[in-house]
């Protein structure tokens, strides 16, 4: 673990009772390696290390901790602050609540839509309506219809010859007729490089005015998390992030990368394939996991 590695690094400088320029330098090298190993973006790591160095240089020494422990605590606290900041939940003030999910192919959007519907119903007593707006992937509409059936909630009867923006706009009417007050839009996975498909997302946003646009990212995403998140955020002004597949052993450094570059709240974490496997994002847990 990072604590062990730092203890080892600091042990080599016996008798040093406090953090100073020299031992901070060596300690920060270990922290940098740990963060890169955890998939935090190279440039985000650079900025983070600079911040920590400034704080470490100015830090008062805590008599109860070794320099290694103190540096870990400093790094951990700084990570928690960056990852959490002001924790925002979902904006449920206006009814109907409209939530749009976007992201790269295979990141877990369709599954997360169903998980969110489950959460909105059980925790907030809302009546969810699911909208399959992926007309490209074979059986994508069927996939969401099956999940809707499992949940016992209504879904829009999309077909592959429809236009996604039309589906979403019409779904708002159908949801109202069904007496639903929460509408969840599942969009097709796409590359941030695909101009027509990114434009499609803008069109859906323009026609449906969702209060929440959640960027769904795979916890195992590497350095590219920054480029992708930046592109989706620039196009759509996302309102939050869901990190999926956190039930594996990915360190999840993408969380810090995405938060740093977009400034948007990490709201939820996918912890499995079941519809109940959705948790609120915890900055302290994410920080410990990133540090390893």
């Amino acid at each position: 673990s990072l604590t062990d590695r730092l203890s080892e690094a600091f042990r080599k400088m016996r008798g040093q009772a406090r953090l100073d320029e020299k031992n901070i330098q060596d300690g920060l090298r270990e922290v940098r390696l740990a963060l890169l190993e955890a998939d935090v973006n190279f440039k985000v790591v650079k900025d983070f290390i600079d911040r920590v160095r400034d704080k470490a240089m100015g830090a008062d020494v805590l008599k109860s901790l070794t320099p290694g422990q103190q540096l870990v605590k400093l790094v951990h606290d700084e990570l928690v602050e960056l990852l959490g900041g002001e924790q925002k939940g979902l904006d449920l003030r206006q009814k109907p609540v409209k939530i749009m999910l976007v992201g790269l192919q295979g990141s877990g959007k369709t599954t997360t839509v169903a998980k969110l519907a489950n959460l909105l119903r059980s925790k907030y007593k809302l009546k969810p309506y699911l909208v399959p707006a992926d007309v490209y992937r074979p059986a994508a509409i069927e996939q969401l219809h099956v999940l809707a059936k499992q949940l016992g909630v209504p879904a829009y009867p999309s077909t592959t010859d429809m236009n996604p923006a039309d589906i979403c706009a019409d779904a708002i009417k159908k949801a109202a007729e069904a007496g639903c007050d929460a509408i969840l839009f599942d969009t097709a996975g796409r590359l941030h490089l695909d101009e027509p498909l990114m434009e499609e997302l803008s069109a859906i946003k323009a026609r449906c005015a969702p209060q929440e646009i959640l960027f769904v990212a795979d916890a195992m995403t590497g350095q590219d998390a920054v480029t992708v998140a930046e592109a989706f955020n620039a196009r759509l002004d996302i309102t939050g992030v869901v990190l999926t597949k956190m039930d594996g052993d990915a360190r999840g450094g993408a969380a810090l990368s995405i938060k740093s570059v977009t400034g948007k709240s990490l709201k939820f974490v996918g912890m499995g394939e079941k519809l109940s496997d959705l948790e609120v994002f915890h900055p302290d847990r994410a920080a410990s996991r990133i540090l390893g």
Binding site: A38, F42, Q105, L191, G222, D249, A250, R251
Partner: protein, 277 residues
Amino acid sequence: LFGRSGGLDDAFWEELEEIFIMADMGSEATQKLIGNLKKRASSMAVTEAARFREVLSAELEAIFPLPKKPKVAAAPEVVMMVGVNGVGKTTTIAKLAYRARLQGRKVLIAAGDTFRAAAIGQLEIWAARVGAGIFSKAEGSDPAAVAFEAVDMAQREGFDLVLLDTAGRLHTQVNLMEELRKIKRVLEKKHPGAPHRIVLVIDATTGQNALSQTKLFHEAVGVDEIVLTKLDGTAKGGVMVSVAITHRLPISFVGLGEKMEDLRPFVGEDFAKALLG
């Protein structure tokens, strides 16, 4: 990278290190590769940055082994696709089926994901599009039974190739890795030599976790080759250098999009070119 002094100076190696790390190579593999590249550059007598790509191509060629053609004593050849959730296993089966169809082979797709919503429906659509047969059982069936019965059908009806889909699973899910072992055992019993190829599908956007995925899938069932998907995005897949150094597993194909034609044989030189941007 090739802009400034033009020589392989400290600034060059520093910039290369940053490029490699940002390509997901990881710090350890980057250090190792840079060490190798320095030696190779000198043995190839390359001193200008303009010729550096040749050095990198040569080094990657040495690092990435070539895929082996499996010995198939009796038809059908059986290929089993494995990998974590959402990486592109099902879509890659469609691409491999399409490729085999172009070669005139009779292809049977086996819908071995009996768990995820509409997994079977997804493959049924693909099978029709590429002109492959499809074998499936009811959702919730034992995937080992799907594997067994698909091979049985293939033997009886003269299929050349069986492409077996499996449900996505995290490498850390012990019971699901055991399920993969069971499917493999059932295939071996049913058709000696099967599965002739176990293909691990890895998403190019994956960071260092690809190492853990490869390690655990390889330990569980033995991986013969890797397909690297979604290289049409901005991710470079640099972690595969680390995977190759550690496991010596070949990358057979790369996925370059969502259509059936979007599969290309892996070429080290193209990978090197894309790495250097």
